[in-house]
Point group: D2
């Protein structure tokens, strides 16, 4: 029989204090340590170690409609502060990043509405966020002007194209990444409004976007990395593309944190555990990995605020 | 065509500040206002109004294995501060509350383990929380002693029985509720370790627990309430029992906040929207209601910390 | 290095044949054997073994709003055919069973509607099922008449009360169970419209429903069982009450199948794996157990149709 | 007050018959009509209408790890029978399709295992499916040989590349699509083992895969379509790419069925309702649309078997 004292660390009931900081709260969740609250606290610890490891390449995956929900500013801030070395995103997040960067807004709407009425009112819905068509009119003007500036007859990688766009913007993810020299990969760029705009442009222009031209640079980075870390908001293409990038090397990821609302039992990659990635060699055997199952519009700001507080504190 | 300016309030991208308080973070989520992050912020606003409404009876539903995860202290604290008038709980949460109150601990374990080995080691698992059998040995001793003190031949309600237990404890939910005179209802008390202990006791004693004896007091409270509010952690019996309690009155709930990981499309009450409750008259037509879909070990401490900060702030 | 031939049974791609029977389809899912499709097929195999084991007591747990969704007839049929020995249900399912048995119907509605309008139209909503208030008027008349027939001053168990109701009905779960002498347990009976009706009755009558009076009979059954099996539709009180019932014995469940839409990482009992139950001794070490994660309005009829087909086939 | 007779169609309780066919079962679920069981039946009805509409272009989206779970044969069969006009897939499904087509198998494993041991045994895990590294050795040989046959210096679209691969195979999705002249789109082809193999090939060869070269053909198809239908297994890039394809036309999809395990409240496209797509004009106002929330390893074979049975029946 195991005696109580052999059973490990007790769950310390969460004690709240009015006015506590976000990192105080995360510390309290960590001392309780159970379910996704516990995972969240371990995820902040691991993210902090990843960010502090100057010999590690830090990948960041961005899937799910995070920018329309107001989460883009945090990503741009993390790039600005130097906590992201490689960004992989869905095309949708980058589309909405451009929309905000050219001065349009998303709006707080509701999911309990008539989508047919919204259609008549020329409003597009993303769960409870509204986006007027007007924004796409301005988006089209900006994108076409940006594409016009590409040298006719050239062959570009997707990240070249995204840097070209980012350099024409002042705020947001693409702008900050371009300014800081952080590559932004988006393997399925065609699958977005940026892609549809590019199709429009390509009707009359001849600039080839080579689907594979980004891979040598990415893979070289992976071969050269002493260690690698991944912070994954959502699954989809960004998660898989990041995790598979280390597959060709001897190494795998040493740190991995994923925030997902999906579940493992459906077999899809988005909800797959990070342990599963160990069997493929995407994570090293010794890698530390944490999954937090919850809506990232709650967990991502919470974890990022705690991370910044801790980094600041140690900075002083 | 709807013009951008007619479309409502813009989603304000979340801006983080190292060292920000929990309520600052919730305010930032509220200004973004999207998905469950937005719901969480609206939920705190609504909870605050509910708690400040001195003419409202505030119900609190506690389902899911919250106490083993270290969430019991927050509930006891809310009772202590006077923010809960009626508590409805599952039997499991009360069992684990007693276990902690008699000095036993839950332990931080892992879900990736052999349950057969745990069985050999006499450790019970609740997802990633471990509880040694030893705790149940002490629990049995405490419970039997408590039951022995019941007057033979008496007929009690379930809340009478729980108050009797709470009065013999010094800390935790049952102790605080008993001390503050807050009724604790637990319709399915048989369905818990407290129930199994009671079965053991009843082998040799004759004390009847009348399943329905709590209803007149609860219903009287409902008939007398000017307004009623419900804060629901999880679904199950507590959610339904609370919501149905206003069904016999002319009134319904005016405020309702639920934290759940379930989903509506399966038809179960636990994941049902609060709007559905409006069709039944459980909520009034004008009631404000917010559901936050996420693990309550994240959302409950986050929301409670923000609530306490706001109440404190206004107190000064 | 493991060679392909050492890796076990190949996933056999599902081949469909127009006009195949339900059991043919389940067999095909079983030969593929992956994710929840594979679990479903293993679940049917296990259920079949459980039903064929004449020395096993077969428990059936019924949670979630299954009866309003048209699933009650399958349960009644399983009782009729002798495949259920003990039924544990939520009060809601039994309420809706009575409603159907007295000749009222549930209606096919929609979840995309105004609950305030439904309220005005006196229609209650359960996801996309509608139930007119009129049904509750007839329900009240039936229930009060049934309760009036209880001997004043008596003390009953909950299953006594439910048998009393079932004997006054001709079709459905309660009627079939009463006729076949199958006990129906419902620990949280207060938490239902049956409970509210009983409260009404108890205003003017004195019949005590002893919350614990069912436990000795249930526990005796468990102590006497050579083996026990559990088929669990949904979680909640029925799942826990069934699984805890073997806890006091030396034994545990030998067979267990659960159909659930919940998930394990939230820590709640409803979504907990059946392996977790092994650590508690609720399942034996050797027990076979299968969880199928999906909506039970799909999996339950599919599995039951396959079960009946197999039992019939072997019967010929 | 609404009278019972005004409330629509009653939920007809499901009655099972041993030996019933799959379509019989789906019909029974349809007469009940509730929750996801009801949606599944409506989804089969809609799919049947879509397939029978000879003026409609029928799109099929394939996301999630469906091929490793044995679902690839159904897709190939649907192509063979002429029920799919345009296929959009993730790269992973096509990778595993090639693996099966070259004679390797996936294996029935377990999710309850040590991924570190699997790594040592050179077995890759996809939830409860195992795939030995050996398969990737053979995959590499096949892929490199296939790529070597591409004319040096050429510029291809992604669907050209996939047709080139399919023409070298005899069975499976890519082979059947190539033989029947059905285009296979895979916008994020880089994000897969096919992509990694291509990167390897491109180290020493110069064949450009133009990311956008597929769009004119796809968009022309959309502009020319009288009506369009979408059957979506999973979300991800295939769902979005299909739905956005009609965005540039005056039209939208007239029929849409999606099978997903995701949920709408997280804001991601994979779990988004099809109604949301109406606000964007991706679906027409009058479009019929059904979402079935459940594991597609259950719903997809069930629905496809019912579809084939109905088509066959009417054929006789």
């Amino acid at each position: 029989m195991i005696h109580v004292m052999d059973c490990g660390t007790p769950v310390k009931p969460v004690a709240l204090r009015p006015g506590m900081t976000v990192s105080d709260l995360v510390d309290a969740l960590g001392r309780a340590g159970a379910y996704n609250g516990g995972s969240l606290a371990r995820g902040v610890d691991l993210w902090e170690r990843m960010v502090r490891d100057e010999e590690a390449v830090r990948f960041f995956g961005l899937a799910g409609a995070m920018v329309p929900a107001g989460m883009g500013g945090i990503v741009a801030d993390l790039i600005e502060r130097g906590h992201i070395d490689v960004l992989v995103s869905t095309g949708a997040n980058l589309t909405h990043d451009v929309i905000e960067a050219i001065g349009c807004s998303h709006y707080r709407g509701t999911a309990a509405c008539s989508d047919i009425e919204l259609r008549h009112d020329e409003i597009n819905r993303i769960y409870d966020v509204f986006l007027p068509n007007e924004a796409f009119v301005r988006f089209e003007a900006f994108m076409q002007e940006a594409f016009e500036a590409l040298p006719e007859g050239s062959v570009l990688s997707i990240s070249d194209l995204l840097r070209h766009i980012g350099l024409r913007l002042e705020t947001g993810i693409l702008a900050t990444a371009a300014r800081k020299g952080i590559p932004v990969y988006c393997p399925a760029i065609q699958d977005s409004m940026i892609g549809l705009q590019y199709w429009l442009f390509s009707q009359t222009h001849r600039v080839v976007i080579d689907a594979f031209r980004d891979m040598p640079g990415l893979l070289d980075r992976c071969f050269g990395a002493k260690r690698a870390g991944a912070f994954l908001v959502g699954g989809g293409v960004p998660k898989n593309y990041i995790l598979q990038s280390m597959l060709m090397t001897e190494n795998g990821f040493t740190y991995a944190v994923q925030l997902t609302g999906d579940r493992p039992d459906l077999g899809g990659l988005s909800g797959a555990t990070l342990d599963e990635a160990r069997s493929w060699g995407k994570l090293t055997e010794e890698a530390e990995a944490v999954t937090v199952y919850a809506d990232a519009t709650i967990t991502f700001p919470l974890m990022a605020a705690a991370l910044l507080e801790r980094l600041e504190a140690s900075h002083d």
